[in-house]
Symmetry: C2
Subunit: 343 residues, 2 copies
DNA sequence: GTGAAAGCGCTAACAG
DNA sequence: CTGTTAGCGCTTTCAC
């Protein structure tokens, strides 16, 4: 019933296979009445062209892959990746691309990912979340000439296209805000410093302190790994150094840190202020609600797909490099509201 | 470089295309030394068969689709769907299937979903989240003879395969637990009662009360829609009826409800106890931590893929119906811990 | 065991 | 404008 071919439709409409193909692809060279007749048959039979065949003939599948590397699976407790995926999926809908999802989870998956992803004609291109793995994968993709775009700024690799938010600028803005509010001992709980995001946000923190005349106190810098637990642990370590404000590299870490601060008997935000990073669903849950940096995640996903398609259509050279702007969202956790009332 | 074909490999190995194909598919009828030679060439050249071609020849793509209907996109703030997706993706990895993700977001997407998903030879089967849309889609899939499995118990449709958790039994268990703890006025904030999940959990609540001799008070039943906001609003409505415990149909609603209770000056869990549903990442965030029903989500996703593959391999008749067990996780929000200490 | 040849369903020159 | 024909890269009878 649904297993019709172009040939079947052609027979039913009394034309040749090519004509039907032209109609399907809205090629201009078809007489109006013929087109109408064919369209009717298609309508009545519910014919849809077989994608595998079309892909084979055209060397184009209108399907792209999203690869989320290992580190990520544990990140699924953080809403970042779901939202990113959602944004990308929506963009794919708009461009009528199909999205293949590749979650690289075990070291085994890591081994099998390249073959699964590289089969020519199957995927037109790839969105690759930067992270733990990838370097060898990237090399292979480059030599295989497969269009791809890195999500996040890659570590070392240089001749590739990527899209990222401007983490340095964002962290700089967040910390500047705290400085402006008069905090003197601003700490940070960083993201994993084996990741570019973690590094960039830390750099923004340092840059703000230095440029604005606060000295950097090493005891005010502790490393986390983007998990709530690491936020909690990080805050416990910071306690001794008596910070009056903490810039956390993610909201979920901020939530962990706030727990720890409260457990230590501190009042929020009076005794200690917090700023997070992400502003996905989590930021409004804690009490006080988090001041944070909003990720432009929907636009990010959309732009990523757009650029990947550009890479596919117009070639991968020169590499595209995109940095997107963020926005600071001021709520109660930074103490700004109280201060404004008091002053 | 990576654009090798079977033919190329054949030439390099000095054999015919068929032989290489046999080697690639580990067909027995190949002499050992020939096989070895061919394998070497494959190794050296990094050849991978073109999936589109193979799909066309075999009428099998080893790719399945996951369709999440409209209602879901707003649900992405709830960790349920991300986790489900993750579980399914991992299962796909294990079975070496590729996962296509279809987020049906706008009414427009709803229109285009069938053609995108039905193209024969492109997807071997479909996982369909039950929800708002779907009835017409389901009909079309049935007549098109495409293997699919509904995630969640479908409303009306009857001759289809589905997998769900046993929501009635789970809610029954949760409410029974509250009864056992001695609560007298147990309320519920339901999920959307236009969804089977919402209905089933409500039914479990009612069943427990009735079977265990508590009368059902209509003022203790309010309807939510699985969002935090609806939890908050629901609790505000319940306040007048003075419940001493509330069974919420999801953790995120429980969090909203707890906020509302606290805003009304109630102490948790002393003045009012809460039980949620899901036990994904959210349950341990609030203070007190949530007693809840744990969704066996990883097993669920895995089982879903397994059954879909069974449907693909062994035919879609008879329809498979699976209900999975849940587990109650007791934390502080239900008051069980205090009670045990006091008694 | 191995190769030749047909065919999966579609697109795209190429003739007419 | 329309039909014929030759692939796209792989699997799979069918001979040998």
């Amino acid at each position: 019933m649904a297993d019709l071919t172009l040939e079947d439709v052609a027979k039913l409409a009394g034309v040749s296979r090519s004509t039907v193909s032209r109609v399907v692809n809205s090629h201009p060279n078809v007489k109006d009445d013929v087109r109408k007749r064919v369209l009717e048959v298609i309508q009545n039979t519910g014919f849809h062209p077989n994608l595998a065949a079309r892909t084979l003939a055209l060397q184009r599948s209108w399907m792209i892959g999203l690869v989320l590397p290992r580190s990520v699976s544990s990140f699924f407790s953080d809403p970042y990746f779901p939202r990113l995926t959602q944004g990308i999926a929506q963009a794919c809908n708009q461009f009528t691309y199909t999205l293949g999802l590749f979650l690289v989870d075990t070291p085994e998956d890591e081994q099998t990912i390249y073959p699964r992803v590289s089969r020519r004609g199957f995927l037109d291109g790839l969105l690759l979340q930067s992270g733990q793995i990838g370097e060898q994968l990237i090399d292979r993709l480059v030599t295989a000439n497969i269009p791809f775009l890195i999500l996040g700024r890659p570590h070392h690799t240089d001749h590739v296209s990527y899209i990222d938010v401007d983490n340095v600028a964002a962290a700089y803005e967040a910390v500047s805000h705290l400085i402006r509010l008069g905090y003197q001992r601003i700490a940070t709980i960083t993201g994993g410093t084996n990741t570019t995001v973690g590094l960039d946000r830390k750099q923004g923190y340092l840059k703000a302190l230095i440029e604005q005349g606060q000295s950097v106190d090493e005891t005010l810098v502790v490393e986390g790994d983007f998990t709530e637990a690491s936020g909690y642990a990080g805050m416990r370590k910071l306690l001794a150094a008596k910070p009056d404000a903490v810039f956390c590299a993610s909201d979920i870490m901020a939530i962990g840190a706030m727990h720890a601060a409260r457990d230590a008997g501190l009042r929020l935000p009076d005794d200690i202020a917090f700023v997070g990073f992400d502003d996905l669903s989590l930021a409004t849950l804690p009490e006080p609600r988090l001041t944070t940096i909003r990720q432009p995640i929907y636009r990010f996903g959309f732009k990523a797909v757009e650029i990947l398609i550009d890479l596919i259509d117009h070639g991968i050279q020169p590499p595209r490099r995109i940095l997107m702007d963020t926005e600071m969202i001021i709520r109660e956790s930074c103490g700004a509201k109280q201060k404004m009332v008091i002053e």
